[in-house]
Symmetry: C2
Subunit: 365 residues, 2 copies
């Protein structure tokens, strides 16, 4: 029987509660469908810091590296605002991305029909919205050196961050975007600031060359990242796949997520390169939302983004396309029935907590 | 009589047409109000490149440095997409900002009541919106060194951009934000990515210290820049003054501008430090919109952002508060009367061109 090895990192805040609902789906798939998932669990973020003084231990990193896929909840919270920079909760997430070489971050911004009214945009602008943001995740200003704060004397300090991109880094993320576009509306919009940044100039060149050499059938457009932010707000449906760097991707994917009115619903996948021998990619799946410390532990968090992240895991790590489709359909059905957690509550709907929402989705699955 | 020395740089595309309408207002103020404006004019961007092979000449830079204020139109267009990086149109704008040391960029995002319906957001979320984004303009990744593309051999290139911030740069822009907040709703939100960038860590520290030392009466909040982008889209009216760095300011001010539905209407001011002797600040005023090459030369561009930029010039460079108020009121009146250029046209309104719009505002002034 196929062995499918998952490593769970629920992390902090609502990460615990929402991961619990995924665990039930895994158990169900093992019991009813013989899915053969094995799971192990570790600590990341503030919970790892509290237990071990680091944002993730080397032992847990080993397990993440060995797993077929990692499921990640969320990290951070005011409790750890004052811990040293090197061991802050986010450092665990960044180490996972870097050490697993998860260079391709896929962030779908989908507007669930049942939730279009929840968007701050006019419903006609977001109904049916389906954008895929492909964000470079292991390069740029997140990891470039030097990254320092120096005391200059005289009460002056100097902070430096460095944005670095090499040709191959841009080429491989562009290829992921073009490949995915072929499975969608066949259109890629590349965003950078070539009018100000040298990395934007190189980004633009390499995307253009990759397109010409390998994907001439895909429609390619270029947009300055600031104009891209504007266009996302003005007319988001003009986009299919957006490919952009680590920092612009951070900003733009958050704006896009908010447009959908479904922030608590959006999953993401972070993928590495296919292994030369096995063709398998390292992968981590996580909700776009954060740890929401204000509502943690109350049993009211929306588990949908975490469950939808598991659906992406089924699709991208295990090629379980039918199961992924079914799980996504189960989510849509539950929403259509008017079952809602507090964050997406609307008039005439039934308000439920985290476990009821998880159970409702499992019942439709 | 007071001498008031203006240097006009209409630039490319619709910059020419929109600046012409400001010139009429200047002539009117000289003739009817004895305002004593003298004007000189130069070339910037693509038009400077076509004439002189650079994005701005040293001679024009001298004039900009000597003037009491610079009025700037817009630069760029597809015609100059392939010119060398160092002399691309934007280089003229960036040199002006840097050599005049215009470190404080003020970008109001105001929703004119008559235009609330034009926003892509639900009207109740933007009606009465009045945000002031204070963007650092002479530091960060725009100007930090190294800023290079290097050939690594093997067909690989490496692009590097460097974000650099010193304590004094953050302190002075924070002070501008706090001072301005005192004239408004007394609230500042500072945005950075301290969870990823060292410059974000220093930014957060220095803003906090400046607040404590000099502006404890102002309400200060901190937000991660990605969350800030989200909140701008979700509930923009929560903000009063936002202070942020050069690159985040570029992105966030464009998103904020788009929210208002009034992109063609929004002005900006870029200010230097007050002169130690005279107290005067170097200053440049420019619309937030670009050169719009697609509609240039057709006489249909909206001149309101350029005229509103001149109103900011009256206010900040010449302390002509009454005149600035009147000019801004004239703009609002014309909109209330339903007079519209094509970009803001709505049912039941009267569509006019650039010169008619300029004339209508002058008639109300
Ligand atoms: C938590 C933080 C380090 C992270 C990032 O900036 O990448 C988050 O904002 C995200 O988008 O996943
Ligand atoms: C034209 C460009 C260099 C400029 C910038 O990036 O600052 C523009 O986008 C702006 O916001 O004024």
């Amino acid at each position: 029987m196929t062995q499918r090895n998952l490593f769970l990192l629920p992390g902090d805040g609502i990460g615990q509660e929402t991961m619990a609902e995924v665990r039930k789906i895994i158990d169900y798939m093992n019991a009813e469908q013989g899915a053969g998932f094995t799971t192990d669990e570790g600590l990341v973020g503030g919970s790892a810091y509290d237990a071990h003084g680091v944002a993730i231990t080397d032992a847990d990193m080993e397990k993440a590296l060995a797993a077929d896929a990692v499921l990640f909840g969320a990290v951070g919270g005011p409790k750890w605002d004052a811990v040293p920079y090197e061991v802050r909760p986010e450092a665990g997430l960044l180490r996972l991305r870097k050490d697993l070489e998860l260079f391709a971050n896929l962030r779908p911004a989908i507007c669930y029909p049942a939730l279009a009214a929840a968007s701050s945009l006019k419903p006609e602008l977001v109904e049916g919205l389906d954008i895929l943001i492909v964000r470079e995740l292991t390069g740029g200003v997140y990891f470039g050196e030097p990254k320092t704060i120096t005391d200059l004397g005289n009460g002056q300090k100097r902070a430096i961050d460095t944005q670095v991109y090499d040709t191959y880094e841009i080429e491989r993320i562009a290829s992921v975007a073009f490949e995915l576009a072929r499975t969608r509306k066949n259109t890629v919009c590349s965003m950078e600031k070539r009018n100000v940044m040298k990395s934007g100039v190189l980004w633009n060149q390499v995307v253009t060359e990759t397109h010409k050499a390998k994907y001439p059938d895909v429609k390619l457009e270029h947009m300055l990242a600031d104009a891209g932010g504007m266009q996302l707000v003005r007319a988001p449906k003009q986009f299919d796949v957006i490919v952009t760097d680590n920092l612009f991707g951070d900003m733009l994917s958050d704006v896009a997520a908010m447009l959908t009115g479904s922030l608590g619903m959006l999953p993401s996948a972070s993928l590495g390169a296919p292994d030369a021998k096995t063709g398998k990619r390292k992968a981590m799946y996580e909700p776009v939302h954060g740890s929401a410390p204000d509502i943690a532990g109350q049993g009211i968090a929306n588990p949908i983004a975490m469950i939808a992240s598991f659906a992406m895991c089924l699709r991208y790590s295990f090629n379980m396309v039918k199961e992924a489709d079914n799980l996504e359909k189960a989510i849509a059905n539950v929403l259509d029935k008017g079952i809602r957690t507090g964050d997406i509550m609307a008039e005439g709907c039934t308000k439920v907590g985290t476990t009821e929402m998880g159970a409702a989705i499992l019942a439709e699955f």
